[in-house]
Symmetry: C2
Subunit: 298 residues, 2 copies
């Protein structure tokens, strides 16, 4: 049964969906048509939009203006989308499909897929830098830029993908797996929550609490992913596992068993919720997001 | 005979060389070792460092503080270096060598090369966002971030690479060639000069003049490249031409003949110098850079 606050998550998701292409329109960013096709193909391929929604909800929790936060929310989704395109490449995870559609390099060729990823990553920073909030509050906008870059870069997401590739076939070392999850998944989710807090005008204490929330939510997201992979209850998920297993990718359930994995997911729920203890009712939607992630079926 | 002002260019280049790794050191950016190796390999592979030097000289021409400009100069070189790594990939220009050394994917494999490029692009924005000038003058720093992102992104460098790939084998259409040069080479050089102007505290008129200067300098750079390719007087250059020709890449001399190409280079020199007419002696080093680029032999 959907909780009474979930409509807010749906509303935010819809707003993101409707805005993703807006900041790349021809009049603000002229680009070769094939590149535009590739960029739009991946941006409109669906997805849960968890990162931008978390940014909007975190910003809302500290009283931010939604319209001002929106370019930053889209920027975060551009960065996430670029990472999926590059991760799918033949030399990386070599995935021919993404969300039921041919992956970018299958649809447009490798060169254009690499460039579409490069473009999305770069445009994320342009959109933030050219946003109305950047003109009004450059200090906050710049702090958000730095937070996103740190989370997405060599220390965060890119570093995590490198570790994941290097770890392939080395078996299920749990410690390394958590380090990879922290970099690959948590860093960007934590940055999304942090950015919402910064841009929404939250106090330093609130911003740190939101970052902790995002960190736990990211680990929870990955934990439920691994559990879904392992239980393989869905056909597509099943395929994912088979592939991950064939590659020797680390998953927590594989390393420590399903019971431990479920207990860990439970603990991460608690961690995410307790990070929100500073917040009263205004943290309600963020709490709801924890439940959405914990109970997801795909 | 070196002109009397060239030591300034050498001094700036040396300063850039000595600072490139500083903003990526372990204590500011922890990354997996193989990724660090790949990033450092490409950053220290040499090169003329024209973009960061132009940024420093442009900033100096409007009275900027060199130490404050340095992180931005390095950021521009990170972006340039990432573009070389990705352009060399098998699915792009498929170059096994870069500056006499194996290209990144030859040395580290394709996946790590892609990630090293991704990391450099992302870290460029982190370094700018976390710079001391960003804390002091966030508005200026953010304008520089936006300028770099616009120049590097879908409208600029990434779009140019896509056009270049799409144009391969279609013959020597001059108009398209200039469009590609503007995006692939001029955009980033123009942004470098613009960023120096913004960050150094130049007036709007000065900043636009510097951007025009960089635009012309970029076209001049590409024009001399094409001429060097065509004359093929150097062994490695010769190889480059053979490869470019085999691919059907556009060059201006191939399309319009050598005489027209030399006349165009001359005109671009004039354009770059005339953009500096607002500047007196303080534009001397920038003028000198035009001569350096025009007379380069490699």
């Amino acid at each position: 049964m959907p909780s009474p606050t979930r409509p807010e998550i749906s509303r935010c998701r819809k707003m993101v969906e409707e805005s993703l292409l807006r900041f790349l329109e021809r009049d603000v960013c002229s680009m070769p048509e094939v590149l535009r096709e590739a960029v739009e193909y991946s941006l409109t391929a669906g997805g849960k939009r968890i990162r931008p929604v978390v940014l909007l909800l975190a910003g809302g929790a500290v009283g931010g203006n939604e319209e001002e936060l929106l370019p930053f929310a889209c920027a975060v989704e551009y960065v996430h989308t670029y990472s999926l395109i590059h991760d799918d490449l033949p030399s990386m995870d070599d995935d021919d499909f993404r969300r039921g559609k041919p992956s970018s390099h299958k649809a447009f060729g490798e060169a254009t897929a690499i460039l579409a990823g490069d473009a999305l990553l770069t445009e994320a920073f342009r959109v933030m830098g050219e946003s109305p909030l950047a003109a009004k509050e450059p200090g906050k906008a710049l702090a958000a830029v730095a937070a996103l870059a740190r989370a997405a870069g060599a220390e965060g997401m890119v570093g995590g993908q490198q570790m994941d590739l290097s770890a392939e076939g080395t078996g299920g070392r749990g410690h390394e797996k958590e380090e990879i999850d922290l970099r690959k998944t948590s860093a960007l989710l934590s940055a999304s929550a942090r950015m919402g807090g910064i841009l929404g005008g939250g106090s330093a204490v609130q911003v740190e609490a939101l970052a902790r929330y995002g960190r736990a939510l990211g680990l929870l997201f990955q934990a439920t992913d691994d559990i879904l992979d392992e239980t393989g209850s869905f056909e597509e998920m099943g395929k994912g596992v088979a592939k991950d297993r064939a590659r020797g990718k680390l998953t927590f359930p594989a390393a420590f068993g399903m019971e431990a994995a479920l207990a860990r997911a439970e603990a991460l729920c608690g961690e995410a919720l307790s990070a929100l203890s500073h917040f009263g009712d205004e943290g309600g939607h963020l709490r709801d997001m924890v439940r959405v992630v914990a109970s997801r079926r795909s």
